[in-house]
């Protein structure tokens, strides 16, 4: 399994996947610098961390998931290497599990770098903005908690996008579903039943009602693991003609 995992990770070398993974931290960094540097009212570190995580949960997380899962799948769909990969005498479920783990691993790295970019952006903003002031102190545990919970709550979206990306040769299907889901989530943020909408689960981590966040983490996390498991079984058993 370790060899298959290394093989799957090797496929990312010099690929667009890494460029896509680097985009969200850069965006959060740019946004943070602009906000902090141009602010004429003092901003608190807590609010800055929350604001960065909100941008992540609403837009950048689902967009990153779309990009990373679609591009990882396209590494096989594009050159048509499925026939080769799946005709090797390796357990197919391990191949798909390795692909899922590589996708999730990249999302973990992106989450961490986005959180770090939020901190770095404020530090640079303070240097650039003549009147920029940040109140309080940066709390790494708050950032770790927020981004960690969002990752778990986002597992269901990741599983859905990953499954579609692996299944369909064209990236149009997963991309259109992902963009649609993201826009519905933005429009229905405060809807009562939005609690059950996968794309809203990472957002609900920020809800003032704590139970809403806990439910989102539970549904997103458990649902994600179940969908990933079912998808791996299904993909490894289906024909690849």
């Amino acid at each position: 399994m370790i060899n298959i995992l290394i093989a799957e990770a090797t496929k990312l070398r010099r690929s667009l996947v890494l460029l896509v993974a680097a985009t969200p931290p850069v965006m959060v960094f740019a946004l943070g610098v602009l906000v902090v540097a141009s602010g004429n009212a003092p901003e608190s570190w807590t609010m800055h961390t929350m604001a960065g995580s909100a941008v992540w949960a609403f837009f950048l997380l689902p967009m990153s998931v779309i990009g990373i899962t679609a591009l990882i799948a396209q590494l096989e769909h594009g050159p048509g290497t499925w026939s080769h990969t799946l005709a090797l005498p390796a357990p197919r479920w391990q191949v798909f599990l390795a692909k899922a783990l590589v996708s999730l691993g990249l999302m973990v790295i992106v989450s961490v770098t986005v959180a770090a970019a939020g901190y770095a952006s404020a530090m640079l903003g303070l240097q650039l903005g003549e009147e920029a002031v940040m109140e309080g102190a940066f709390d790494p545990s708050l950032a770790f908690e927020l981004y960690g919970k969002m990752f778990i709550a986002g597992l269901l979206v990741m599983a859905i996008q990953w499954t579609m990306a692996m299944r369909f040769r064209s990236f149009a299907a997963p991309v259109s579903v992902g963009i649609g889901g993201t826009f519905v989530a933005v429009a229905a943020t405060s809807a009562d039943k939005g609690l059950y909408f996968p794309w809203l689960m990472p957002v609900n981590v920020l809800a003032s009602d704590g139970s809403r966040g806990e439910l989102a983490i539970m549904m997103g996390g458990i649902g994600g693991v179940i969908v990933f498991a079912l998808a791996i079984v299904w993909l490894s058993r289906r024909d690849w003609g």
């Binding site: 060899n3 093989a7 090797t10 496929k11 070398r13 290497t81 026939s83 080769h84 005498p89 191949v95």
Partner: protein, 309 residues
């Protein structure tokens, strides 16, 4: 280890009402270069996909090196290396990195990479990105990847497809040398008859999902019926005379006619046709009675000869 490396027994695959493979039986003997011939759409790649476990037939079974593919997929596929359709490689990686991915998935030793590169003469280009390779180089690298597992059976799906004449020549030379250099049996699909004729010792003809011939090239050539080669002008007039003389299976290329109906090709009928053509005012520049080459036999067997009412 068995003497039959690959065996397809009654393999049937349907897509809805379309029967892509109709109870095909194949037995690939060890040590052979086996040509799998058929026109485009005959089902060659589908059969190969079934043999590699990428498609599950509704009936029949596939045995590789004695292992039933449906019951023991990993053991069965451990004896096989394959290049299916295009040599699909990761263009963002170097040739060596591509091979290393497969090596890791096979759990094979790192030293096998250099051996495989040596076999296909690609060591010098191994550290270049595959995206910069020519099609011929990709074919070679695909072959190197298939050889990594030190397979008993090498499956090549249209290995010279898209190559220029020099590339085709080189690839054929490489394929011809492989059984001796690696000990692998080669199962090679192609729609190019000349290719199979030059390389293969055994051949199987597939037509619309059915095997219509399976055996050695010698057996095929002995099965070939005599044919009559006629060159006559004016061509339209000659064509009419040929039909009126009772020949029912005619392949025509401008003023050249190949008559292939085994029932009607005799020395007496040839003489009668010659006389009839002269009487009709046709100039006969050649009229030869011989046995058909593989191409004509293939055209006849696959129903591509111009049948006349």
């Amino acid at each position: 280890m068995t003497d039959t490396v690959l065996s397809l027994q009654g393999v049937t695959l349907r897509y809805g009402k379309l029967t892509a493979l109709d109870a095909i039986d194949l037995a690939i003997p060890a040590g052979a270069i086996y040509g799998f011939l058929g026109p485009n759409g005959a089902g060659k790649t589908t059969a190969i996909r079934c043999a590699m476990g990428l498609l599950t037939p509704q009936a029949g079974r596939v045995l590789i090196d004695g292992h039933d593919l449906s019951r023991n997929r990993r053991k069965a596929l451990a004896s096989v290396g394959a290049v299916i359709e295009t040599p699909a490689l990761f263009p963002n990686l170097t040739g060596r990195e591509n091979l290393d991915i497969t090596r890791r998935m096979l759990g094979a030793a790192p030293g096998l990479i250099d051996r495989a590169l040596e076999l296909v003469d690609m060591r010098d280009a191994a550290d270049r990105r595959v995206g910069q390779y020519s099609l011929g180089m990709k074919q070679r690298m695909g072959l190197a990847r298939a050889l990594l597992a030190e397979p008993r059976l090498l499956i090549l799906d249209e290995p010279t497809n898209g190559l220029d004449p020099a590339g085709i020549r080189d690839m054929r030379a490489l394929i011809r040398a492989l059984p001796e250099r690696t000990g692998a049996t080669i199962f090679m699909s192609s729609h190019m008859l000349s290719e199979v004729e030059q390389l293969a010792s055994h051949v199987s003809l597939l037509q619309q999902g059915c095997v219509i011939f399976d055996g050695t090239l010698d057996a095929l050539s002995h099965q070939q019926a005599p044919r009559l080669l006629v060159t006559a002008t004016p061509a339209e007039n000659a064509h009419k005379v040929i039909m009126e003389t009772g020949f029912s299976s005619i392949i025509r290329d401008k003023d050249r006619f190949i008559l292939t109906d085994p029932e009607t090709i005799t020395a007496e009928r040839a003489a009668a046709l010659n006389a009839a053509l002269h009487v009709a005012g046709c100039q006969v520049s050649s009229l030869t009675l011989d046995r058909a080459d593989l191409e004509t036999t293939f055209m006849t067997l696959t129903g591509h000869a111009e049948a006349q009412p």
